[in-house]
Symmetry: C2
Subunit: 316 residues, 2 copies
């Protein structure tokens, strides 16, 4: 493992993939590896690209990667959308398009297909991001479908979120309003050659006007792209870099890192604490009585959990 | 609140909606209400209908509700899919179709649009199901989009999962394979009037053959439906009831309830334990040193969480 850590810090993709797999499996060796690489993380710009299935996120992403590479930046990609071609799903054409990047040593793509049987999607994604960061990625892009709460949690942990919509999505935008739109730093209207593109842009602008941010805050731009031929991608990458400058200057870049790590820490505390409690209880008759009552619906889960956690004491 | 509990047990929808809202807000009064209704729960058959956006789940669901009502069963619905017309999204036509049910006292529909800012989707859904159960629902249907881990968690907690696919979905089925197909008790191929329906059925059958279950186990049927005109819905509801009989006879009905409640209990323990720990720590200098080191990346989240949870002691 020791030598694997050195290899990861030198950008070795095989060693990185091995560590990610250990972490996905909840292997203690993986946690040792993560601890070892941790001091070398915290440098990458973490981007989220999210939007409904069919918005063309993956095609857009391949062009975004190409543009980052042109600017000589190393790119890590975490694909969280299970319907994403990057995760091994859909269209052959898309997969072929991604292949150009898989042979590029400056691009490391990882799919979260084996999602969260041990601690949920956000934990696995978080750990993967740390590995990509330690490898020396300048930019890490997380592609999510933006539907589940997990995906929203992931999006909230990134520096910059681009929300992709497409023409003819009027009603869906209404549905997205509640959750996704509020976390957007950049709006992308993809398939901008399709009719109705200006309607979507107008709707988004209207919603933005209602957000009514203070003057010194970031104003999310609304960009049009045509992912299939790469139109608008340069401007999108410019917007990512502009947002990065804004974050660094306002102190929000580090603040976002600290918040993400604290959230990760908090989740680990929850998990470890519960593990300790259930281990300590396992053989106690009182605990087994409690379980029997829970099973017989003689006690409700809230009261049972209160009973169990009442006796917790902790010192540091 | 006391009188609200009585009203809920009598099936009063307004009182039920009030309790659900309190629970969504994490209001202690909500938890009191849940404790009071809890002894009256555990009777409903809980169904999950899941599948990708655009598969026609909501239209199918309106017909399924009608069929349950014909059989004189009271129905509760929890719509978890944010793109669902039931959640207030999409097409007017669908919303109108649902309206026929909103005036029926035997149907109570609740959307999880305000998802999970306090404890995640599965918690809120679980609590809502308990309220619908206490109201006397014979059947509770949870509609999910089946994309995120949260949705899979929800689906795992139901008695019966119907996975909806549609013709022309070959590649998507491949992508679904890993997660959704394994949890399906019933397969529905909707839009069965569209070309390619038999290809999907064949693919599903092939996958089922590979599952290779023991003889005494439930064999998931593959049903064709045309949601827009209700074709195949009677057979689908028959399949739901057949699966219910199988579950009851095999003892799996109660086992599933126990597992769901234990999972709910476990999550509550995690949350409460972490709350207690962080409260106890808040003013300790050693804890604040730990946080400062975490912030400065001098300690990694794993080591910090281990340090914090090392001193936990619990008795019951």
């Amino acid at each position: 493992m020791k030598s694997d850590v050195d290899k990861i810090l030198q950008g070795n993709q095989l060693a990185a993939a091995r560590l990610i797999r250990l972490l996905e499996d909840g292997d203690p060796e993986g946690i040792q590896g993560l601890k070892a690489i941790y001091p070398y993380t915290g440098n990458a710009l973490i981007l989220g690209i999210t939007g409904p299935p069919g918005a063309g996120k993956s095609t857009l992403l391949t062009h975004v990667i190409t543009e980052f590479r042109k600017r000589n930046l190393r790119v890590g990609v975490v694909a969280v959308d299970p319907s994403s071609p990057i995760s091994g799903g859909a269209l052959l054409g898309d997969r072929l398009r991604m292949r150009q990047h898989t042979e590029d040593k400056g691009v490391f793509i990882r799919s979260m297909a084996t999602r969260g049987h041990l601690g949920g999607l956000s934990k696995t994604t978080n750990e993967t991001v740390l590995v990509l960061d330690a490898m020396g990625s300048d930019v890490i892009v997380i592609e999510t479908v933006g539907v589940g709460q997990d995906e929203v949690d992931v999006a909230e942990a990134v520096h910059t979120t681009a929300v992709v919509s497409l023409p003819g999505m009027g009603d869906e935008i209404q549905a997205m309003k509640a959750g996704l739109l509020e976390i957007a730093d950049i709006f992308v209207v993809n398939k901008a050659d399709k009719p109705g593109v200006d309607d979507v842009v107008d709707q988004l602008r209207l919603m933005l006007d209602m957000r009514n941010e203070p003057d010194n805050q970031w104003k999310p731009p609304i960009l049009k792209t045509i992912a299939v031929n790469g139109e608008g991608v340069t401007e999108l990458v410019d917007a990512f870099m502009a947002h990065r400058s804004y974050l660094v200057e306002s102190g929000n870049f580090d603040k976002c890192n600290v918040e993400r790590e604290f959230q990760f820490f908090r989740n680990l505390v929850m998990e470890m604490a519960a593990g300790k409690i259930f281990d300590a209880m396992a053989d106690l008759p009182a605990y087994n009585d409690l379980l029997a009552n829970l099973k017989a619906r003689k006690v409700d889960p809230y009261t049972a959990a209160e009973t169990l956690t009442k006796g917790i004491e902790c010192k540091i």
